[in-house]
């Protein structure tokens, strides 16, 4: 059985367990003096007064918030998280340390890339016994379906992240690698823009390395990944969407790189080529920056991801028509299980010793290792090797005897699923706190990229802070304070360094085409429709409630009944629901404040916000703030709000919605996005009005209370009274709400606006469904010319408008007819 020992990892020098250790203090040496790289900043931070500290913390938070409001939407919708906070004191890495670590990181990306190339190819590493086959076979991150694919551009890894931690003796050790969709560069750049201005004087004097060049190189590398597509390839930045905790960072980085931020739904594969759906048609895409990760890229090839992703993307990549960075399947290398095997691979395949030491780590899939580790389990943190496990990681020294027994049994039953890592005392650095400067443990995420001319390391990075005494493996990944990472120039180091630069203007062949991806247009279309739907519901409910309270004269009761008829007609309530007078307040109130009421205002608001959030970067900050407030209006009304409270709420809603229409009218550029918002609004308003007219015509066209309520809902009572000085009569009401092209609430008015905007839509007017859409709209116009004003006419026109909406969707959003350019 000589083979067994072949792939056993080498034993690194035994690292000391936590208990026996004092953390490395980066600021002060054991003699209490500032360490060399702290000579400039050290004395400064300790001189800060409480007010200065407070002021700095506040400024950092405000500056970050200013950057964040542009992108941070997820905290408002769905509440996934909140923006990270920033400690303005940077993590300092001396230039000697930097040259050592950066050399190590350059070697590491080369090594990991080599591992991936081999494992997804000939698997010599397994035959040579350098990696145990089980480590690959048991890993769900090893994607069987991409084995054998040669990634366009040659590399599996374009950018990697590496978490580093200081050992008690001050050495930087690798804690873990991020290889699938390494996040944090955007955050690092945001932090840099804040700290470099807060501590600008020191930043300049210490000649801190600039980050801009890394980004420029990354842009160039990405553009060069598919050389066959010429020198102006189209690159997109693929994000999981606004619900993802890192969405703001994706948006920030995409903007700095100058690539459009897209979601899977924006992309489509046709004839094994990748395209972006834009309003002007399909646009060929050459390179994808993958921030989705390995799961969720292609539902056709990857089982069990619920249909999300771009069907055909893997095939497109397989056939060399698109480059994806990092390559699908690269996430395999992020498993800590691989770490102990890297030194031997480095020596055998690169002919070099591994330069960066790592935190003592063992994969438990091998019997001999497992035996050794289980004997001294208390030294370690137990972690999942591959998949996340809700019970892990766990600090073994805190386990009770019986819990430990249970864990050992679980490990023995599926040992390949576990890894242990030393419970190490992470090095600490200075942290800005209310009470003064404190010492806190810190992890540095460094970033490396592969380029044509070898690997490049970002001279900086993202530092995360933790609590003293908490094992670093147990820190939550999306919380806590972060820091900028500063690398001061060594004496006599006079390299010219650049600022973060905004991207060169994109010499795009069709600059306007990329301007509005179809999805954004679709989302704006629905923002328009929902805003209008909410307004109609609000007005209907307001009229009803106004007639509910007070004295119960016969007239009022009749009008209330009429309102209920309209509410049903407006589909706010299911047709068969009978409202008992005693229950009326409760039922109607529920539509206003109960978030579980179907079709009620809270659920419509949610739909509005979801659509708005996804089109976030097309809406002004003011608009966004308004939307946030909208949600607040209906919250916290209590269980049984009174009529007057409900009416006040509805009034407030109407005001907010009017403010939104005002902003749309006054502050939004008349681009393609605006046009879809407007058409959505007009379509919905027509549909709403037609629904009410249909109900009135069917359920009592002579009833004055109903016509009264109808006019009030459509905000046209005043106009009617001014024109007719009489009780409402059906034909006059229809005239005002249906035929009148001067009444901004009338159907005819909406249709003429839609006509007007349609003529200004992007794209070839003779292409695809567009001629049909125009023809269809002309047909809709004929309803307005005819003299019949019965419920059938209104119903038929509603149907025709819904059809119009479907045709728009088909032509502009789903791209069922191909148009390639």
């Amino acid at each position: 059985m000589a083979d067994i020992s072949r792939s056993l990892p080498e034993t690194p020098p035994r690292q000391m367990p936590a208990a026996a250790n004092v953390p490395w203090n980066d600021v002060h040496g054991t003699d209490g003096q500032f360490r060399g790289h702290w000579n400039e900043l050290g004395p400064v931070i300790y001189r800060w007064s409480a007010e200065e500290r407070n002021g700095l913390a506040k400024s950092a938070a405000r500056m970050l918030a200013d950057l964040g409001t542009t992108f941070n939407v997820y905290s408002d919708v769905g509440g996934v998280g909140r923006p990270y906070e920033l400690d303005p004191i940077p993590l300092l890495v001396s230039s000697e340390e930097w040259s050592r670590v950066s050399a190590g990181l350059k070697q590491r990306i080369r090594l990991l890339d080599l591992v991936l190339t081999d494992l997804y190819g000939p698997q010599k590493l397994l035959k040579d016994g350098l990696i145990p086959p089980d480590l690959v076979n048991a890993s769900p991150a090893f994607l069987q379906h991409v084995r054998g694919v040669q990634p366009a551009g040659g590399h599996h890894l374009l950018t990697t992240g590496c978490d580093l931690v200081r050992s008690p003796s001050g050495n930087w050790l690798v804690l873990r690698d991020h290889t699938s969709a390494p996040g944090g560069i955007g955050q690092a750049l945001e932090n840099r823009s804040v700290t470099s201005s807060l501590l600008g004087e020191h930043f300049e004097r210490m000649r801190i390395a600039r980050l801009g060049e890394f980004l420029d190189t990354e842009r160039t590398s990405l553009q060069g990944l598919l050389p066959s597509r010429g020198d102006m390839p189209n690159v997109v930045f693929l994000t999981p969407g606004f619900r993802h905790p890192s969405y703001f960072e994706h948006a920030y980085k995409a903007r700095l790189l100058g690539f459009p931020l897209v979601e899977a739904a924006d992309l489509t594969v046709r004839e094994r080529r990748l395209f972006l759906k834009t309003l002007a048609g399909l646009r060929r895409i050459d390179v994808v920056v993958n921030r989705i990760g390995d799961d969720g890229l292609d539902p056709l090839e990857h089982w069990g991801q619920g249909g999300v992703g771009v069907p055909g993307l893997i095939e497109s990549w397989r056939s060399g028509n698109v480059a994806i960075a990092n390559a699908p399947g690269a996430g395999f290398c992020a498993s800590p299980a691989l770490m102990p095997f890297l030194p031997a691979i480095s020596r055998k395949w690169l002919g070099e010793d591994i330069k960066l030491p790592f935190v003592e780590t063992w994969w438990l899939g091998q019997h001999a290792i497992r035996k050794k580790v289980l004997d001294e389990l208390h030294r370690f943190i137990l972690m999942p090797a591959f998949k996340s496990d809700p019970l892990l990681p766990i600090k073994c020294s805190t386990l009770t005897l019986s819990a430990k027994k249970q864990w050992i049994a679980t490990i023995e039953s599926r040992p390949h699923d576990f890894v242990v890592q030393l419970d190490l005392t992470p090095g600490e650095t200075a942290s800005l706190e209310k009470a003064g400067i404190r010492s806190r443990p810190v992890v540095w995420r460094a970033f490396t990229q592969n380029t044509e001319n070898g690997a490049v390391v970002l001279p900086g990075g993202l530092a995360r802070m933790g609590k003293s005494g908490q094992a670093v493996q147990l820190w939550p990944s999306h919380a806590g304070f972060t820091k900028d990472v500063w690398i001061p120039a060594a004496d006599g180091d006079g390299t010219a360094r650049m600022e973060v630069r905004t991207p060169r203007p994109n010499k795009d062949r069709h600059p306007s085409a990329l301007e509005v991806p179809s999805r954004i247009a679709e989302q704006l279309y629905w923002v328009g429709r929902y805003a209008e739907r909410i307004e109609l519901a609000t007005r209907l409910l307001r009229v009803a409630l106004r007639n509910l309270g007070g004295e119960t004269g016969r007239l009022q009761q009749e009008k209330f009944t009429a309102c209920l008829t309209l509410i049903r007609g407006g589909q706010l309530l299911p047709k068969n629901v009978i409202i008992q007078p005693s229950q009326a307040l409760k039922t109607l109130g529920g539509l206003i404040h109960d978030s579980s009421a179907r079709g009620g205002i809270p659920s419509l608001l949610r739909a509005l916000l979801m659509n708005a959030a996804a089109a976030r970067d097309r809406l002004s900050d003011d608009t966004w703030r308004l939307f946030n407030r909208l949600e607040g209006v209906v919250h916290g009304l209590g269980i049984n709000p009174s009529v007057s409270t409900l009416l006040a709420t509805l009034d407030q809603l109407i005001l907010h919605l009017s403010a939104f229409s005002g902003m749309q009218a006054e502050n939004m550029t008349r681009g393609q996005g605006w046009r879809f918002l407007e058409v959505g609004r007009r379509t919905e308003r027509s549909l709403g009005c037609l629904g009410l007219l249909e109900t009135s015509a069917r359920d009592g066209n002579e009833s004055a209370p109903l016509l009264d309520a109808l006019l009030e809902t459509c905000d046209s009572s005043m106009t009617y009274r001014r024109r007719h000085f009489s009780r409402p009569r059906f034909h006059e009401v229809v005239d005002l709400l249906f035929h009148d092209t001067t009444n901004p609430r009338a159907v005819a008015y909406q249709v003429s606006v839609i006509h007007h905007e349609l003529d200004r839509f992007a794209g070839d007017p003779e292409f695809g469904l567009f001629p049909k859409i125009r023809e269809h709209l002309n047909e809709i116009g004929k309803f307005l010319e005819g003299q019949s004003v019965d419920s059938e006419t209104f119903g038929a026109m509603s149907g025709a408008l819904e059809q119009f909406s479907d045709m728009l969707t088909q032509h502009y959003f789903s791209h069922s007819v191909r148009r390639v350019y």
């Binding site: 067994i4 072949r6 397994l126 089980d134 094994r272 089982w303 397989r318 039953s413």
Partner: protein, 294 residues
Amino acid sequence: MKYRLVHRTKYTYAGAVSVSHHLARLAPRTLPGQRCPWHELEIHPVPVGRGVHVDSFGNVTSYFEIEGKHEELEVIAHSLVEVFPTSHPDPMATPPWEQIRDACLLERLTPGSQAGAFRFASPMVPCGRDFRDFASVEFSPGRPILAATIGLTAKIFHEFKFDPRATDVSTPVEEVLKRKAGVCQDFAHLMLACLRSLGLPARYVSGYLETRPPPGKPKLTGADASHAWVSVFCGEEAGWIDIDPTNNIIPGERHITVAWGRDFSDVSPLRGVTLGAGGQKLHVAVDVIPVADL
């Protein structure tokens, strides 16, 4: 035996589909005991984009896209296949099952440990104590692997009811074990779960089984079906041996192998992602027609 195969799959969509992407694994494999001199995919409507690659398990995989409104998709796989008689080792002469399990633990890639790719849980096959307990009656210490596997096959065959209404494609194996009923896919997954829970490499095989009409009756068109069984690794010498828990037999000339993988998700004959359809109706008809000559 020589066969002409026709495998028709027809999707009827509830709404019109504007774009669809598909992966097909319908081409019979070429193996020591089987050859496939001719295979062709007939697709309606005509695809706009096509590609063929061999997946990481050696299965020929066809990719195609349909563009433009369609309410139906029909895929007809035509093949000619010859299956040769193969001999199987004496079950009692195969190595003890523990020896196979331990051989997979070898820490470098040897032909035997290559089988190790099939000994872990996979998307549709979990591992766990329930499965191990279910199988352990047959896997007594030292029992030869093939003998034990045959025992497990018989156990599943006798204790489980073949009932297409008991399960569907998405029924988890744990449920199959509870309900004691299912179809060939369920029995294959259950058997894989049992074998892998014991640490043994086993793979999912998709293919066809020639059915024979009752004596004197003509064979009906479309009467056959796609079928699934498992293959278990019995050591370097015996290699992989197929076994069919649905019929309690070791496959012979009437079993035609199309593809293998860790479970159904690796080899599903036809997968698709459509844009625009609501629901869909699926109609499958398979003909396995014995022929005199290819």
